[in-house]
Symmetry: C2
């Protein structure tokens, strides 16, 4: 089969990202065609509503309501699945891969949930699945991990993977404003979805961490197997306490691998980062990822994580890789299956080997003896206190007790937390944040 000279591209989904891809492919078409050595034809797009007004002008003849028709169209070489959701997206993706097509996807939930099936289908049927846009859209981190840093094993990868959360945290800190007010603003400005839980509870970050962990370690870790904690219980007081202690607060995905024990840990939680850490200073909707390789040391990447343009840039880079593959053969991409081979027997780290320092905020009755009781609970679980800050709490008769610990582990802290929550002097569910003493 000779390489096609015109590449037909089909889009399934024409929302924000789909329109961005159409817009930029149209605007930079001449330059791209010259770089890639083929004609690029935006052949068809599947939409939910044919009549909806859209910012990009697309001939009615190219629109269809049937994404499966796009995915299975024998004329179409590259299918961009940009619908979101997992059930229909899975069907579309598998249908295209089974026909040996190239699929480009921005769908982290799909990959997290059905990645194993998708990559197996691609391999079995000679299809190819590209997903640079699924994690940190503006940052070519998938390519960096899989190709640029292929010489490395990765003891630690961590970073900010959700722009909505980072926007909210940045606003809370800068404006000294409570979570609920900032969230409401973010919704008004379009930075947060009507149902914010996927973002603020950490699930979107978990999906992306799952993709990165698989790339780096060849193991599928599902969100249910991770520590996943969101940002909704953080208060402006936490930022003030963090500053006093020399830290900022970021929602991080942290992926660590202990090569001696062959243990992998993937966790999503708000984290105190030293104020000098570059990622502690990444503001607003930006994403940033720190990658430590055993050969290269620590490298850092930052850019816009989502939004029409950053995501379109990633989708188009995958289309370009797809074009190279159609023109020249499958060397365009290291095979996905081989990435996973070296990682067998790796197990998820048990709670006691997930170690860190902790920040604990308790709202307690403002009466003598409370600190002594708290300290004795912690001592019982061998959790050693590093510092204590006591402040008046907002509610009358209550005090805020902020403790940081020396290094402990998730099992000990979990047991400590349950017992502290049960004390009669504890007025509210305790707030636990991890301290990430990462200096790079």
């Amino acid at each position: 089969m000779s390489a096609p000279t015109t590449i037909n591209i089909g889009l399934c989904g024409l929302g924000t990202v789909g329109q961005g891809v159409w817009k930029h492919l149209s605007a930079n078409r001449a330059e791209l065609e010259s770089r890639l050595g083929v004609k690029l034809n935006l052949a068809r797009a599947a939409v939910r509503d044919l009549r909806k007004a859209r910012a990009v002008k697309i001939p009615a003849s190219k629109l269809t309501r049937d994404p499966l028709a796009v995915a299975t169209d024998p004329q179409i070489h590259i299918v961009c699945e940009l619908m979101g959701g997992t059930a229909l997206a899975r069907k579309i993706t598998l249908a295209a891969l089974r026909r040996g097509k190239i699929v480009v996807s921005a769908n982290k939930a799909l990959i997290c949930q059905h990645g194993a099936e998708i990559f197996a289908a691609a391999q079995q049927h000679g299809g190819h699945f590209f997903f640079e846009a699924s994690v940190a859209g503006g940052i070519p981190i998938i390519k960096a991990l899989r190709e640029g840093l292929v010489a490395n094993r990765f003891p630690r990868i961590y970073g900010i993977l959700n722009g909505t959360c980072n926007y909210i945290l940045t606003q809370m800190e800068d404006r000294d404003a409570p979570y609920a007010a900032v969230l409401a603003d973010a919704k008004r400005l379009g930075y947060a979805e009507a149902d914010e839980s996927l973002d603020v509870d950490g699930w979107d970050t978990a999906h992306k961490a799952s993709v990165l962990a698989w790339l780096a370690h060849g193991v599928w870790v599902k969100p249910a197997e991770m520590i996943v904690e969101g940002i909704s219980r953080i208060t402006p007081a936490d930022f003030k306490n963090a500053v006093t202690l020399g830290y900022g607060i970021k929602l991080l995905a942290v992926i660590t691998r202990d090569f001696k024990r062959n243990e992998l840990c993937v966790r999503i939680h708000p984290t105190l980062l030293p104020e000098g850490n570059v990622i502690a200073n990444v503001s607003g909707v930006f994403n940033a990822i720190s990658v430590t390789g055993d050969v290269v040391g620590t490298t850092l990447y930052s850019g816009r994580g989502a939004g029409q343009d950053a995501t379109a840039s990633a989708v188009i880079s995958d289309i370009a890789d797809g074009v190279a593959l159609l023109r020249f053969g499958k060397g365009a991409h290291l095979n996905s299956e081989v990435t996973t081979a070296a990682c067998k027997d790796c197990r998820l780290a048990p709670a006691e080997s997930i170690r860190s320092r902790y920040y604990l905020r308790l709202t307690v009755k403002d009466q003598p003896g409370v600190l002594a009781r708290v300290a004795s609970v912690m001592a019982k679980h061998h959790v050693s206190i590093a510092s204590v800050i006591q402040n008046p709490a907002e509610r009358a008769g209550a005090a805020s007790l902020v403790l940081t610990t020396h290094e402990s582990n998730e099992r000990a802290m979990g047991a400590t937390l349950r017992q502290l929550a049960a004390l009669s002097s504890t007025l509210d569910e305790p707030v636990l944040l991890r301290i990430g003493d990462f200096n790079d």
Copy 2:
């Protein structure tokens, strides 16, 4: 021709980088072989001295004193040119490419000087030339520009490309120490070469900027066509003045393209960067690059720029790309020649269209009327003064006059500088730094 199952690798040069490649390829061999699906055989290495003691143990039977024998050995698939220098390196590289081999190089001077010839030879003879290690070793910036950000045109790329200079500048600032003392320390510690001029005068940065400019814009710009200024005239007082003004000082490569005028500008000079800018805070031997794409916005990359391990990581990633190419066909890499096609008719920006704000330090006679004379020279050339700081200078009877300007251009500033230098009240060659008002 079927794909080989064992890839034979030859090293030309077994200094710091060559030994690093050997060490890490040996240490991570099983994992790499599993990921790449082939056996990797370190077949031969060319050295200058067969008897020299080396940290890595290599059988004497694999060593030769003849790099050309390695480059032309029919058994060897991938030749790593890690010798440095340009004359012999060019010969070796062309010999291997003309035999259709894959060449991996860390040699920015070679690419800058002979890139056009090398890529033409590769194309003509079916060879391939990979060079991720040539710029910012630890950062996969070549792959990011050429593949990950392929959807973009690049109005601005700037960053720290020389770790030695960044180490010296960081030390000067942190220790309030003069250039000469810090340079002497850096030599003792092995962070600077015995002949430091390639680094501190900006030529190494210029070679790397040439490579990046070609990747981003398809034009070969030689150092002689750039503004190239080094760091040797910066004093601790300049850091203090910069801090007063809200800036840090970094040696930057700045590559800007004006798409409307179709003008390209590549310049290397110490630059005042706003203190909040991430790159202003990149310390020590680290490199960092900010890439602004018209689609993706600004993305940032940082990591170790040189050294045995970071460079070896980049060389090995190129070897991996080479292996994919040998196994699957040349889709492993977007063709170099097509990158350049879209950029014809682009011209180098003339001096009057290279605009920035400037920082100017004059050592002048400490007497009345000097500032008036300086100001009138600047006014004559339509250079508008933004701020003035007057300090006693180190030498008796002299004052230090620090001026910042509003936006001007290189022609006007050049003329201003020449006239200021000629004033009888000016005691020393003026020091001119550019102000880079880059907020990301």
